[in-house]
Symmetry: C2
Subunit: 233 residues, 2 copies
């Protein structure tokens, strides 16, 4: 893990969900234990099989959660946007990480020791419910993802990924271009297909006037059609 650097950051505004649920004493402990860490593009935040130690909260930048599969072929399991918490599942399951996390672009992460979080939520029902709810939502998404990735065809999966990227990272000032700079390979890994197929299908979408591409920048022209393709599979 590289690029550590301590910053002065107002945790009350950057960790709104958790901060709100703590007592003053807990806030003081949190303030002194939390670390702010920077990562450069393509740096790993944690590795598969690492022991989870910290709850992470992405302050800025974009992060992908990866999982390596059969024959080392890795796929993107989910993407993290500011301000989202991540990296805590394995600790709670008493496992080592089964995924890795990598920065799509340079980012800032707040790290809070999981022991602290566990101690807090043991006596704070609201905080416990907060984590229960996050896990429950994520589990629902994971179940949905199983069905989507196994049943939808290439076009449906790619359409879905484009919509998910738009949902997570939003659009640029033009109100149409997805606000992320992504290699075709990443788009493929997110949609569970080969890079060739991502490229081919992307240019089909261009021909059909559903999207427009300028290098890695993708502009959504006909979102309704994208939704339809995603729904139909």
């Amino acid at each position: 893990m590289a690029g550590k650097k301590k910053d002065i950051i107002d945790l009350s505004s950057t960790l709104p969900d958790i901060w709100r649920m703590l007592t003053d004493a807990e806030r003081e402990i949190l303030r002194s234990s939390a670390r702010i860490v920077h990562f450069k593009k393509n740096e790993l935040l944690y590795l598969e099989d690492d022991t989870p130690k910290d709850l992470m909260c992405l302050f800025s930048g974009k992060v992908k959660i990866l999982k390596s599969g059969v024959g080392g072929r890795s796929q993107i399991i989910r993407i993290i946007r500011p301000v989202q918490y991540f990296g805590y599942r394995a600790y709670f399951a008493r496992e080592n990480y089964v995924t890795a996390a990598m920065a799509f672009e340079s980012c800032t992460v707040c790290m809070i020791p999981m022991e602290l979080i566990e101690k807090f939520l043991r006596r704070n029902g609201n905080l416990a419910l907060f984590f229960i709810q996050m896990l429950s939502v994520d589990l629902g998404i994971a179940d949905q993802r199983v069905v989507n990735l196994t049943q939808k065809h290439v076009r449906g999966r790619l359409a879905e990924s484009l919509l998910a990227l738009k949902e997570s990272y939003g659009l640029e000032e033009d109100g149409a271009t997805i606000n992320i700079y992504l290699a075709r390979e990443d788009l493929a890994s997110l949609s569970n297909m080969t890079t060739s197929n991502a490229i081919r299908t992307l240019s089909n979408f261009v021909n059909e006037r559903i999207i427009a591409i300028d290098g890695r920048k993708i502009k959504i022209i006909d979102e309704e059609r994208l939704h339809k393709i995603s729904r139909m599979g």
Copy 2:
């Protein structure tokens, strides 16, 4: 939902995990609120889009959790064995069910109102952690399942399902026959393949002396080879 019938059951021995974490007063409330319900083979415990109301604990029998996908094609997302808790994710996520639950065979389920569980765990850190841990483990399994179902080939997926069934429901007295009576269609739905492919691959396994089949009963002859096939994909 059909087949309700009240029984006298010793909750302290049938709900060991949760019971152990409660105070006497809470136990009394739980005792008076919990209902025991029977379901016959193929009966639905809950439906997709139902509003979740109860935490369910499977006392006896076998249950499958289903999710309908593209074009109504449904697949088995996970299987429940005694004594496992289920049906609570959607409540915590403040969603309706995105899955359905069906009895593989006749079964007995304990239903506990989720409002009660939420109240208890708000002031009981251990209980909260219990749910956090269950969700965390299940989320890890779901992530693994995404990779397995999308990257492994038919043989690998079927081998994996057979091992999962053995893990969940165990073996019969002969120490080799998987203790579940399952249609090929269910086996296919669990392994994300067509029924034809499940049948075909199953008879390939028979020819290779990896398993033996007698109607719907499957006997594992060479478990090591099954593990290997599952691992290789």
